[in-house]
Assembly symmetry: C2
Homo-oligomer: 410 residues x 2
């Protein structure tokens, strides 16, 4: 074990989740009590805060407020969607990062995010190695999308899945309350991977969930979809459908493309309006009363419906990142290895950043039924342990009490 | 006290809520143990089930399942939006109802709904009086809209308000996570009364809620709205807005009219798409990144975020309806009288059905700020007691376990 003395920077990146702050708490609390970490800085808005020299001194925070991060959704330090330039063509940003690292004697860098953020983390790690600046870099996984490679699942997914399953159960109850038949289409996040939308299958297992589930892992055919809906609607008078925002035709074009075409800074198309679009198609075909519901931001920030398992694992991911770096490891991302039989057990490991960066893990095709409109029990066996447990969250007047960080400039 | 022996019918009507089934439980459990009530029938889809002779025998239900109704959203017996004809012009439906009442020896009729449903209840009550058929009729209030006259508040409102406040707090956290400014517009239910949208003010009291709140109680001016948003956005980089679906221009036309124009069977315009419409207007004016979020059905069925106070009061409303009828009262609706100082205390009373039927209670103008874009503390003092307490709801695999009624035909 090589003891490396120096400061650490922790940053949050990408879309927030209900538990990204639990990982922050894991990093901050562990780093603050680790002797060799001399200072704990939080970066304002991830790597942008590093580039802009906007760092917060975490030792100035009230520990009571830090302890509430576990129950505070979204990103307490601020996040960013910022893609660093390719270091082979332009090293300006990396030189700036190195300058800031030198200024604050930063020897530990922890970066919390999804696959784009792990790419950022990886590039920084490789650059520091190349220029010979000793800095241990560990990625902390986070994404409601659950699409990071090299890990059983990602912190953030369990809570989003629980909210989606719970909300689908409630909407199912509500959507069949009249004796006038209805078709309800629920639009769920997920561009390329259907993990979030698949969580609707957990509602179905409880006897009240979508009849049909469409994921981006398979091609979408509008006519088959309308046939599927019509058949169930004619038989039962009702039909509930869950669709991923990323469903696409065989040629790869998004079904939602007609509805919206704004592009974010990573080049992803910002989706939306798909539920209404499909509901309209169903109405035209069947004449049914239809309703399109978009879970929107709620599915990624609903900490009031978080999974206690997810919160504890998110915290563990942050803690293990710090402990591993202190032990001398670097250039890794924390991963989870899980045993599900006879009892769920999740342990933290590490994988090379190269493995995690930019790779996308999708739902195995064999977990999806042949028709491509539902999930097999393999998915539920995988996902159910991840949503377990209700956190004992702090409340004030029966409303959530979120952490209030001072965010004092370093 | 006149003992009246006979059967009772209970029906649910109008849009469901997170706690309408708690009132059902209150009626059913109380009626089942009341000696003079010989049979307890549940009407399938409210008054339509009476007209169609579709009644369920509640004594055949498993009491354990009935006890879970408190935690089951939506309408367990099925609801309807059915307007009875004016008895002065056409008595056909009333004669049919009388026929069914005679067939099953129905002497008690309990009807659970909002103002349109209280109108139904009132018409039936008056008709039975007119034809001299002894039947005690009691309305059980229910509406997330909270717009029934003659009562402090309505069962269903507290839970919807709690969900709205909680979700607004979470969206607030999420919507300011990037250093790129954002304007977020949240669309909340409420055609003519702003009670639901006003609940967003409870989030603001917690330090994370909408900057601006627009209700149907005041006229809406698009330019003033855009000025309001622009001012806050320029000052802080962010702006969050809560709008009621029913906001309207001074001439009474709905702001959402462009977005949608489907009409339901009561002649109400089905609203939707308002959030996107306003978000687009803001984008055009400010160039800001915008997001429109519609809470949609979720706000009326989110039993996972219900208020324990609301559940207990909804149950009490059902219980008191039966107890009052047995005591000899009729032609009334259950109401709540509340004391808020020094401690919240809610008692059940009765008001004439004439008072409740079709009247709409709105937010007092003096509770709304002069600019018409926010609430004063009077509102919070009123609403906060109604959202208190987390129910100890039954769960299976960390998902809600809803009541499963057998609904055996009588």
């Amino acid at each position: 074990m090589t003891e490396l003395k120096g400061a650490c920077i922790f940053g949050q990146s990408g879309g927030p989740t209900a538990v990204i702050n639990a990982s922050a708490q894991g990093v901050i609390e562990t780093a603050l009590k680790t002797g060799c970490i001399t200072k704990v800085y939080g970066a304002s808005h991830g790597i942008k805060g590093v580039l802009d020299d906007e760092l917060f001194d975490m030792s100035l925070e009230d520990p009571k407020e830090i302890s509430m991060l576990k129950y505070t959704p979204s990103s307490a330090l601020g996040s960013c969607r910022y893609k660093l330039k390719d270091p082979d063509t332009d090293t300006t940003e990396y030189e700036r990062i190195l300058e800031i690292f030198r200024k604050y004697d930063v020897r530990y860098f922890f970066y919390n995010g999804g696959n784009d953020s792990m790419d950022t983390c990886n590039k920084i790690s490789k650059y520091m190695q190349k220029v010979g600046y000793e800095c241990r870099v560990i990625g902390v996984p986070k994404t409601i999308d659950n699409d990071l490679a090299g890990t059983d699942h990602c912190p953030g997914y369990g809570s989003a899945a629980k909210y989606i399953a719970t909300s689908c159960m409630e909407v199912f109850q509500d959507a069949r309350v009249y004796d006038v038949g209805t078709v309800t289409v629920v639009e769920i996040m997920g561009r390329n991977a259907g993990w979030l939308t698949a969580a609707a299958a957990l509602a179905k297992d409880m006897g009240c969930g979508p009849d049909l589930i469409y994921l981006p892992e398979t091609d979408f055919y509008m006519n088959r979809f309308l046939d599927d809906v019509e058949e169930i609607y004619k038989l039962t008078g009702y039909c509930m459908v869950a669709v991923s925002e990323g469903i696409h035709y065989p040629d790869g074009s998004l079904v939602s493309d007609v509805a919206n075409s704004v592009v974010d800074s990573f080049g992803h198309v910002q989706l939306g309006g798909l539920a209404s679009l499909l509901a309209d198609e169903v109405k035209n075909r069947t004449g049914a009363k239809v309703r399109g519901i978009e879970l929107s931001l709620l599915q990624r920030c609903a900490s009031h419906c978080a999974s206690a398992t997810d919160i504890e694992e998110a915290y563990m991911a942050g803690r293990v990142a710090v402990e591993s770096a202190v032990k001398g490891l670097t250039d890794k991302m924390v991963t989870f290895t899980c045993r599900r039989d006879p009892k769920y057990l999740c342990t933290a490991n590490l994988v090379d950043l190269d493995v995690a960066a930019n790779a996308e893990k999708k739902i195995p095709r064999e977990w999806i039924n042949a028709a491509g409109n539902g999930l097999k029990s393999d998915f539920s066996a995988y996902a159910l342990p991840l949503i377990q447990g209700e956190p004992d969250r702090p409340m004030e007047n029966s409303l959530p009490r979120f952490a209030r960080l001072a965010r004092r400039k370093a």
